[in-house]
């Protein structure tokens, strides 16, 4: 099993969610986060005082999937999250040791 974590732009979020559910992904977790990458932050000016805003707002989504779905999932995230401009985000892929459904105690792919 794999855990796919994607950091994406806010306004791509709905498209990514729809693209993932369309290929049969049944659950995901999303959280609003702040961070920076090579894009760095930007300047904001309040009453003539300049502040460098180092952390930009993004959305982080996490999806747990069976190994055979990985390529398809990566493909739809890449297509739906991409704008081609800087700051489109990143995808991190981890091996997922186990999953447990709390209600029933089921484990592994059954529990996803």
């Amino acid at each position: 099993m794999k855990m796919v974590t994607a950091i994406i732009k806010h306004f791509r979020f709905d498209d990514v969610r729809k693209a993932l559910t369309d290929i049969g992904i049944v659950g995901m977790t999303a959280i609003e986060v702040k961070g920076f990458g090579r894009q760095k932050g930007h300047m904001e000016v309040y009453r003539g005082v300049e502040y460098e805003v180092r952390f930009l707002p993004k959305v982080k989504i996490e999806v747990a999937i069976p190994d055979e779905q990985l390529d398809k999932v990566l493909d739809v995230i890449l297509k739906s999250a991409k704008t081609g401009d800087i700051g489109d985000g990143k995808i991190f892929i981890y091996d997922l040791q186990d999953v447990i459904r709390i209600r029933t105690g089921e484990r592994g792919e059954e529990a996803i």
Binding site: E44, Y46, R47, G48, V49, Y51, E52, V53, R54
Partner: protein, 437 residues
């Protein structure tokens, strides 16, 4: 005079019991032959309520600009000025400001504890009860020290703040109000200040500069990012201030009619011109028009038109508002270069605005409006009077405020410790938080 003073001490003792209050009330408060004008009285009481609302408005204006960990402490600075200075005012502030003159410098203690201040009109406002004039003026005394709190936001101890505003009001606001509005030496010299350009904005703005220099900058100033945490709150405060300012300026006519109408209109024009000018200058200079800029420009316009409101006509108000928006913009954009941390720009908006407006009154005052001509209408002496007024009030405010701050610092310390500043004033000083997730 001595006899009256003794009487007032007796009165003060009676204040402790409600029965005593009623007893002493009877001679001074009885209605006499001179009946107040009901229209004038109604407008001044409404104006007093409008000016009262400005201080909570200021609390929101400032509260939105600080970091979220200091929102309640900042709001509390303004809010607590209402009760504290109101009590100072009825006990000694009013008599020091407006009591019978001593050498043009201060009012005597004859009206201590509102002794003799009753429902019969005074010479200050012959058509309204003396008490109506007193409470209206009290609202000005309340908001003025609260304005200074922007200079030392996010780092001053609450206990020191309370001592500071009591000393500041007694030793700076009350004398300066007497000099200009209480028949003191600047009034005799011919200095004009319709609603508080000198008495409110120059005193507080210059004191704010002194305070910012003495207390020092916030930890991390110009290194850490400390943008306003809630600009919609600041804009709400701005709207309340603009609304209340009609009571501040139009109420300063002390009557309801031609003069209050003119002051109402010039006030609105000053605010509108200040806002539009700020946005144009900012848009050109920084590339984007900001809501925070619009809010700041409107307050700059309002502060600047204040001394001139009942002396100038609508087109002069337009010029004064444009000057406010552009010059205050430059002042705020120069702040970081000058190195002091006037955190919420009490000096840049009120000090600079008060000075421009006081000069504006000297330039554009028109006898057709309120009996006095400025330079533009052929009376250069008025401009000289105004400059003397600015110099005297600015120097007095700066020096006295610096002394008061040094005294408070020596007695109890002005500044919170580093731990408190990092943790936030709300949790450490007040044991509460503005927001929970």
């Amino acid at each position: 005079m001595r006899k009256n003073y003794k009487l007032s001490i007796t009165n003060f003792k009676f204040l402790i019991s409600a029965i005593g209050l009623l007893m002493i009330a009877s001679p001074a408060f009885a209605a006499e032959a001179t009946k107040p004008d009901t229209g004038d009285t109604a407008w001044i009481l409404v104006s007093a309520a409008l000016v009262m609302l400005m201080t909570p408005g200021l609390a929101l204006f400032y509260g939105g600009m600080v970091r979220r960990k200091n929102v309640l402490g900042t709001i509390m600075h303004s809010f607590m000025a209402i009760p504290i200075i109101s009590l100072q005012w009825i006990l000694i502030g009013y008599t020091l400001s407006f009591g019978p003159d001593i050498s043009g410098f201060i009012g005597s203690l004859e009206w201590f504890g509102l002794n003799g201040v009753g429902l019969t009109p005074s010479h200050y406002a012959p058509t309204i009860p003396h008490l109506a004039f007193m409470i209206y003026q009290g609202m000005f005394a309340v908001i003025t020290p609260a304005l200074i709190s922007g200079a030392f936001a996010e780092r001053m101890k609450f206990s020191s703040y309370v001592i500071f505003i009591l000393l500041w009001t007694t030793f700076i606001y009350d004398p300066v109000a007497h000099w200009i509005w209480g028949g003191g030496w600047l009034a005799k010299l011919g200095v004009i200040d319709f609603a508080g350009g000198l008495v409110v904005h120059v005193t507080s703005g210059i004191s704010a500069l002194a305070a910012a220099m003495i207390i020092g900058h916030r930890k991390g100033y110009l290194q850490d990012s400390m943008p306003p945490h809630n600009l919609p709150m600041t804009v709400t405060g701005t709207a309340i201030l603009w609304f209340g300012w009609f009571g501040f300026n139009a109420g300063s006519a002390l009557s309801s009619g031609e003069l209050s109408t003119m002051a109402f209109v010039t006030t609105h024009i000053g605010a509108a011109a200040g806002t539009v000018t700020w946005i144009i200058v900012e848009w050109k200079h920084r590339g984007k028009p900001t809501m925070f800029g619009a809010a700041t420009g409107s307050i700059a316009g309002l502060a600047t038109i204040t001394p001139a409101a009942g002396f100038v006509g609508p087109m002069s108000a337009l010029v004064i508002g444009i000057a406010a928006g552009s010059i205050c913009y430059i002042a705020l954009n120069s702040k970081t270069k000058l190195g002091y941390d006037d955190s919420l720009d009490a000096f840049g908006v009120h000090g600079v605005g008060g000075i421009i407006g006081t000069i504006g009154a000297g330039l554009f005052a028109s006898a057709a409006i309120n009996g006095i001509n400025g330079l533009y209408f052929g009376n250069p002496q008025q401009l000289i009077n105004q400059l003397i007024g600015i110099g005297a009030v600015a120097v007095y405010s700066f020096v006295l405020c610096a002394i008061i701050l040094k005294v408070v610092d020596a007695l109890v310390g002005l500044r919170v410790d580093e731990h408190t500043e990092v943790q936030g004033l709300d949790i450490v000083l007040h044991g509460e938080e503005g927001y929970f997730i």
